[in-house]
């Protein structure tokens, strides 16, 4: 399994999809950091300024899109190309195929995040206090976790999809639903149905990327004032650390559950 993990990681990390994603995310974060220098100078990373919010959104949108799409394509490519069948005949089971695919895809997304955050760090280095470094690292950590969850969801989509075309379309649809669509539905329905804080929190738990976004906002704003009544309710019920742990548990839970289901699906499929 280690040999396959190394093989997958090498071939994926030097692939054009990873290189393109790294470049796009680095340029985007670099621009945000450069254009937001004024904001960073004024409020640093210890609160929710426009630049920090943009950085969080970028980190939770681009690498997760990369992870879902590449994850979905990797699994179906294995099946369509016969490569997966060759590996299975050599004794590698579905868990090994799924886990190694997830790891390689996660690594490629993490490379994007590392490059993007690294460039942003270089640009803002002289403009934010050193005390904000833990916040910066925590944001990167949340992004890593969110991308890991997105990669797992992508691998699940790929395990379910019959062809690469289905995987690509399904991956885009799922990413859109998790990254944007779910928020819109919750916000819209929340206002319309007058959902309480508990119901909105329940909805957050149902979406790993929303959970990651709330987690990132908690990093920037420990009082959770930016999240309104829902944030206040969350911090009041669980405390700041408890809320952060619960939200990360949601992200990790989504990752684990997606991988388990993907393994079960892959085990039952031919090829």
């Amino acid at each position: 399994m280690t040999a396959l993990a190394v093989f997958r990681a090498r071939s994926l990390l030097r692939g054009t999809s990873t290189i393109a994603a790294v470049l796009v995310f680095s340029v985007a974060t670099g621009l945000v950091a450069f254009l937001g220098l004024g904001s960073f100078r004024q409020v640093g990373l210890g609160s929710v300024g426009p630049a920090a919010a943009a950085l969080v959104n970028l980190a939770l949108l681009l690498p997760t899109a990369q992870a879902v799409l590449v994850g979905a394509m990797t699994m179906t490519a294995d099946r369509e190309s016969g490569f997966g069948a060759m590996l299975r005949a050599r004794g590698l089971g579905a868990p090994a195929l799924v886990l190694t695919a997830w790891l390689a895809v996660s690594l490629s997304a993490w490379l994007s995040i590392a490059a993007g955050f690294g460039l942003a760090a270089l640009i803002v280095a002289g403009n934010v206090p050193l005390d904000d470094l833990p916040v910066f690292l925590a944001l990167a950590g949340v992004s890593f976790a969110a991308s890991g969850a997105a990669a797992a969801v992508g691998v699940l989509v790929g395990a379910l999809a019959p062809t690469r075309l289905h995987a690509a379309v399904g991956g885009i649809a799922v990413w859109f639903a998790l990254a944007i669509g779910f928020d819109l539905v919750v916000v819209g329905l929340g206002a319309f149905l007058r959902l309480g804080e508990a119901a909105v929190l329940g909805a957050i738990v149902a979406d790993p990327l929303t959970a990651a976004r709330v987690s990132a906002l908690l990093v920037l704003d420990p009082g959770a004032g930016v999240l309104g009544p829902t944030g206040a309710y969350l911090v009041e019920r669980l405390g700041r650390d408890g809320a952060a742990a619960a939200l990360m548990a949601v992200v990790v839970g989504w990752t684990a559950l997606s991988l388990v289901v993907a393994t079960l699906v892959a085990r039952r499929r031919d090829g």
């Binding site: 071939s11 004794g91 090829g271």
Partner: protein
């Protein structure tokens, strides 16, 4: 009703064909596979001895690839498959499988593919390796290789280690003559070491049949022939072309014994018979005063079988 049943054929076993059952390597019993409502394998029974090379031939859609997927343990199926007495399960070093239309990851290099499959081959040493010149340069990415070069890499990776069972689905596709020779030599080494080798081919590939011990012919999900390669080749169709004298009547050749079909193409008459009957037919023609220089023989691999252009085949001796 399956095609073979409609044609009056039945699934053959070794008892029908005289293939020696001793030291069986693979035993297949009641193998079935269905995709939706489409049944692809109709309860196959098969026993393949160890240390043999078996050519599995049949037209497109006859079930060869599905059979190979079942044997490799990557296609779910009904019935049972056992290898040397135990239920066949994929395990490191036991089964080597080359699927049809294999596409290795384009971002990987040749060396990385070989390293991966070396690791997956288990602790056993390699029985044989690709000869010099078989593989492209190790640093080259799979994505920049031609179809034939990529196929060579996949073959070389699949053949690493000392597998007991080798299952190669149309491995000769895309290969040039030199690579085909090299592949045959590598397969011969595995077979000589006791491995069971199964190779699929869409048609009667004579270079494959020449090195095969056994032939399995499939039609519509059934095994319709299982026997020695020589017995299989003897049953292949052969066409004997006879140049007519000006004014001669082709009908005069319509009653030659063992000829299954007579067709006329210009001044040539084609007499279609089985390979094993060709000598008898030629003898009959000689007895009727037809000189050897008026004859041409075309095997099943020749375009003349299609009935169009006569004689580019070898002369009768």
């Amino acid at each position: 009703m399956s095609l073979s049943a409609a044609a009056g054929l039945r699934t053959l076993t070794n008892a029908d064909t005289g293939v020696a059952p001793e030291a069986p390597s693979i035993i297949v019993r009641g193998l079935t596979k269905t995709y939706g409502r489409h049944r692809v394998l109709n309860g196959l029974n098969l026993t393949i001895p160890a240390a043999t090379l078996t050519a599995v031939v049949g037209s497109n859609g006859s079930g060869k690839s599905t059979l190979f997927g079942c044997l490799a343990g990557v296609v779910r199926h009904g019935g049972s498959v056992s290898l040397r007495g135990s239920a066949l399960r994929p395990a490191a070093g036991t089964v080597a499988y080359l699927p049809q239309r294999i596409r290795l990851p384009g971002g990987a290099t040749v060396d990385e593919v070989m390293t991966l499959f070396r690791a997956l081959a288990g602790a056993a040493p390699d029985r044989t390796g690709p000869p010099d010149g078989f593989l492209p340069a190790g640093h080259q990415r799979i994505g920049v290789l031609s179809g034939g070069q990529a196929q060579r890499v996949a073959i070389a990776g699949a053949l690493l280690g000392s597998p007991e069972l080798l299952i190669l689905d149309e491995p000769f596709a895309n290969l040039d003559d030199v690579a085909r020779d090299s592949l045959r030599e590598m397969l011969a080494v595995h077979r000589a070491a006791g491995a069971t080798v199964l190779v699929a081919s869409p048609a009667a590939a004579f270079d494959l049949l020449a090195s095969a011990d056994l032939v399995v012919r499939m039609e519509a999900g059934d095994v319709v022939f299982l026997g020695t390669a020589s017995a299989f080749m003897a049953g292949l169709p052969t066409t004997i072309w006879v140049a007519l004298d000006p004014g001669a009547d082709a009908a005069a050749l319509s009653d030659v014994e063992l000829v299954e079909r007579v067709r006329v193409a210009g001044r040539w008459v084609s007499l279609e018979c089985r390979e094993r009957d060709a000598a008898t037919v030629l003898r009959t023609l000689a007895e009727r005063g037809i000189a050897p220089d008026r004859l041409r023989i075309a095997g099943p691999g020749d375009a003349t079988l299609a009935g169009s252009p006569p004689p580019a085949g070898r002369e009768a001796e």
